[in-house]
């Protein structure tokens, strides 16, 4: 059911894990069943709350990886020193439960009826999660809005949703450009190195086309990209940003 669920009190609801999918060696997608889920907009996130036996609680935020209308899902990256992400990516089993509230955040959303301009999506690491929700929503609704995703990852095995993104590239009119910053496979002809002003000048839509941009990833990545885009003539108000902790998710590991 697609809903807007944007007003009113946020309440904690119980979610049950229905499916777990390993995306990479350290990243897992968790499908969730939430009885009274009222829907969301592409780009929004959830807060989750875990409560241990001794009553100890931890809260974290994760972007929604699914499009409106699909089963609700989040994608979590395991952080070395994390307290919550190792639990979600390694210990969690089908049938387990935790609490969540959402959807949260109307600023970082793309709505095909409301928003105009070609889409530029720039992802650093696990920042690709909400952008993939946007691409899925774009496809589900049959939108022909031109879209381009520039996705920075350390290595090819670290690319989340790799097969799905490759399908977009070839079949669905979305340009997907990867840049691998740490190591490339033999024969790699794609881009390498961190996203910088020169790469963006090459890839970004001309400012004259009034693009709408979503940048998501670690704080330093987001700030470098946003500054570079403004330098290319993008109005700051048309560059939407969501910073994740150096940890990989909004709010910390």
């Amino acid at each position: 059911m697609e809903g807007t669920a944007v007003r009113g009190r946020l309440t904690w609801q119980v979610a049950t894990v229905s499916q777990l999918v390993d995306e990479t060696a350290t990243v897992r997608t968790i499908d969730l069943q939430v009885p009274d889920w009222a829907g969301h907009q592409a780009g929004q996130h959830l807060d989750i709350r875990l409560t241990g036996d001794d009553g100890y609680r931890a809260e974290r935020s994760y972007s929604i990886a699914s499009a409106p209308g699909e089963p609700l899902a989040i994608t979590v990256e395991r952080l070395e020193d994390g307290e919550v992400s190792p639990y979600l990516t390694e210990d969690l089993r089908q049938g387990d439960q935790f609490e969540l509230r959402g959807p949260i955040g109307l600023y970082f959303t793309w709505d095909r009826a409301r928003d105009t301009g070609p889409l530029l999506l720039v992802a650093g690491g696990s920042g690709v999660v909400p952008l993939r929700a946007i691409l899925r929503y774009r496809e589900r609704t049959g939108s022909t809005t031109p879209a381009r995703l520039l996705y920075s990852a350390r290595t090819l095995p670290d690319v989340i949703y790799h097969d799905e993104l490759d399908r977009y590239n070839h079949d669905h009119g979305v340009d997907v450009i990867y840049t691998l910053t740490r190591q490339q496979p033999p024969g790699w002809t794609g881009r390498t190195g961190r996203v910088n002003a020169a790469m963006l000048a090459d890839i970004a839509w001309p400012a004259s086309q009034n693009p709408l941009t979503f940048v998501c990833g670690p704080t330093s990545f987001v700030e470098a990209v946003a500054d570079a885009l403004v330098g290319l003539g993008y109005p700051a108000g048309r560059v939407k940003t969501e910073r994740f902790g150096a940890t990989g998710a909004p709010g910390g590991p």
Binding site: S61, G102, G105, Y107, P250
Partner: protein
């Protein structure tokens, strides 16, 4: 520890204000910068949550949970307009 942005406290703000505030527009009482709450600089790892102006660094909002009650100080904002 890098700062985050107003997206990271979307849930907390919705709990306090009863509506989404990430897209709400705030005006800094110190330098006059106008922008969405989502674009503020947020320090989460502290005895409270501190929200600062991206231009001048002054404190716009502080949210503290005191004995399970959420308290919010908005004195650094000259204006806050929900969208």
């Amino acid at each position: 520890m890098d700062a985050l942005d107003g997206n990271a406290i979307g849930g907390l703000l919705q709990e306090v204000f009863g509506a989404d505030m990430t897209a709400a527009v705030g005006t800094c009482a110190f330098c006059g910068r106008v922008g969405p709450v989502a674009e503020t600089v947020v320090y989460l790892r502290a005895p409270g949550t501190v929200v600062r102006c991206r231009t001048c660094g002054n404190v716009l909002m502080v949210l503290v949970e005191v004995r399970s009650r959420k308290c919010v100080d908005l004195s650094g904002l000259a204006a806050l307009q929900a969208s």
